[in-house]
Amino acid sequence: MTTATAPTISLPDEPGLLIRCRWAVSDTLVLARRNLLVWFRVPAYLVFTVIQPVMFVLMFRYVFGGAIKVPGGDYVDFLMPGIIGQTAAFASFATAIALAQELKKGVIDRLRSMPMARSAVLTGRLLADTGRMLVTILIIVAVGYAVGFRFHNGVIPAILMVVLATVFGLSICLIAAFTGLAIGDEESVQAFGLIWLFPITFLSSAFVPISSMPGWLQAFANNQPVTYVINTMRALALGHQPIEANLWKSIAWLAGILIVFVPLAVRAYKRAS
C-alpha cells in the first residue's frame, strides 16, 4: 500500500468477527452435507456401517447370549446398551479413515488454501459422523426391539441414553480425528483403530458382567471409561441400578477427552501435510 492511502483501508477484505462466525457455521454445514452425500453415494459402505453392529446384536443375542449369565434380568437387555456403546465408538473408524484419505488426496490442502473457516473441515466431519452415528444407533435400537430388548425406565431416560451414547461416540471420533490427521494413512489408521478400540470395548462391561473376568482383568475393566459410560447407559435404559457414581465418572472422562483431544486434533489439522 502506498503511504498516501488511508491506513484503515487494508482491512476492507478482513471480515469482522460476526461474519467469520457465520462462515464457520455455514462452512461446517456445507461440508457436513457433502460428507453425508458421499456416504449415501456409496451404498455398500452405507449398508456395511449398519450391518456390522446388527451382526453383533444377532451374534451375541443368539450365539453367545445363551452361555452368558447376567444378574437380574434377560441378557438381551444387558447386551443392547453395550452394543450401542460399541457402535458409537466404532463410528470413529469412518472419521479417521476419511480424514486420512482427504489428507492424502490433497483435499485438505485445497480447503486450507481457501478463504473458508479453517475449523470447518473438522467440525463438518464430526457433525456428519455424529449424525450418521445417531442414525445407526436408532437402527440398532429398532433391531434390539425386534429381538426382545425393551427400555424399562421410561422415555426420557431412554432418550438420555441415546444422547450419552452419541456424546461418547463423538468424543471417540475426536480421538480418531486426531489419529487420522496425525498418521495420515488410511490403512495404518484403520489398523491402529482396531488395536485400541477392540480392547477397550471388549474389556469392559459391554458384553459380559465384569465379575466373570479374572481378577487382574477386573481391575482394568472396572476402572476404564467405556465401562463407566456403558454402566450409565444400562442404568438409564433398565432403571434397576444406581446411576450417580457411573454418571459422574462418565462425564469426567468425556470432558477430559474433549479437553485433551480438541486442541490436539486442531493442532494436527493445522500442521497436517
Binding site: 487494508s10 457433502r34 501435510s273
Partner: protein, 342 residues
Amino acid sequence: MSQDSSGPAILVEGLTKSFGEVQALRGIDLAVPRGTVLGVLGPNGAGKTTAVRILTTLLLPDSGRALVDGRDVVRQAAAVRRSIGLSGQSAAIQEELTGRENLELIGRLYHLSKPESRSRAAQLLEQFDLVDAAGRPAKTYSGGMQRRLDLAASLVGRPQVLFLDEPTTGLDPRSRLGMWDIIRSLVEGGTTLLLTTQYLDEADELADEIVVIDHGLVIAAGTAEELKSRVGGDVLEFTVPDRNRLSDAVTAVAMVGEGEPHADKETGVVSVGVGGRGSDALIDGVRALDAAGVQTHGLALRRPSLDDVFLALTGHAAEEEELNGKRRKSRRSKRDETKATS
C-alpha cells in the same frame, strides 16, 4: 484491495524451510510480475512443492519473507487465501460427487450464494469442456478430466495468482497437451501463474521466466532462451550401442567439446556442448570417434534443450537426480516425504 497493484504478484526473499535434518529450502528469492508465468523447474525433492506450500499459506517458513498479491503469507494469510488458487499434484476432488457438485461445493465454501455457485460451476464446466460429464461422479473421469476438474476448482474464486504444482505429472501425452492449451488460455486472461514442473519442455512451452531449483536453492533464472545460451551454443549428441565402449567415446569427444561430455549409462546417449563451432565440431567429432574405433548411431548436432541446461548447471541430468532423490527419501518417514519432496 491489492496493497500495491503495480508491485510483483509474488515476491519472495530469503525463504528457508527445514524438516528435521532435511533442508528443503535454503534461501530462495523470486519475483513474479503481474500477468506473467513463472516456471519453477527442478527434480523431485528440489523444494518446489515446499515453496508452493509456503506461498499458499499451507506451511510456515522458518525464515525469510513472501508476499503474494502484496500480502504477507504469514501475517496476512487470510487475505492471501482470498487472492490465490491452488491445484496440486493429485486431483483434490471428491470422487463420489459429480463434477458439478464438486465445483458448486467449492463455490459455497468461497461464500458465493447458491445461484452464484451454480452459475460459476456451469461456466467453468463449459470452459474446461466437462459439460457432458458434469452429472457423473468424478471417479468415472479419466486422469486428464480429473485434473481439469481440479484446475477448474482452483479457479472458482477467480484468483489473482494461481499456483499449479506439477499440473501434468502422471498424465498421458495427449492430456498433457490439452492441459497446456488450457493453461495458455488462462494466462491470456491475465492470471499470474506460478507453475512447478519436472518437465523441461513444459517450462519451455508455458513460462515467461524460469527459475531452476536444486537442493533448495535457485541455481539459475532467466527466460528459456537465456538459460539455453548458458549451455553455450549447440550440442553434439550420439548413441553408443556397445555400452562397454561408452568411456572410450567420452574420451574421444572430450577434446571436441567445450564442456565435460555427459554419458547416460542406461541409454548409451552421449552429449557434449560444442559452443559456436557447429559443423566443425561435428566433423571433428566424427573423426575422433572413428579414430577411437567407436561405433555410434544418430550422431547429430542440435539446439540445446533445457535438459542440457540442467546438466550444465547441476552436473547431473534431471532424471538421474530424481532416482537419487527417491533413494534419499526412502530413508525418511512418510510424513516428511510428503512435506519435503519436490
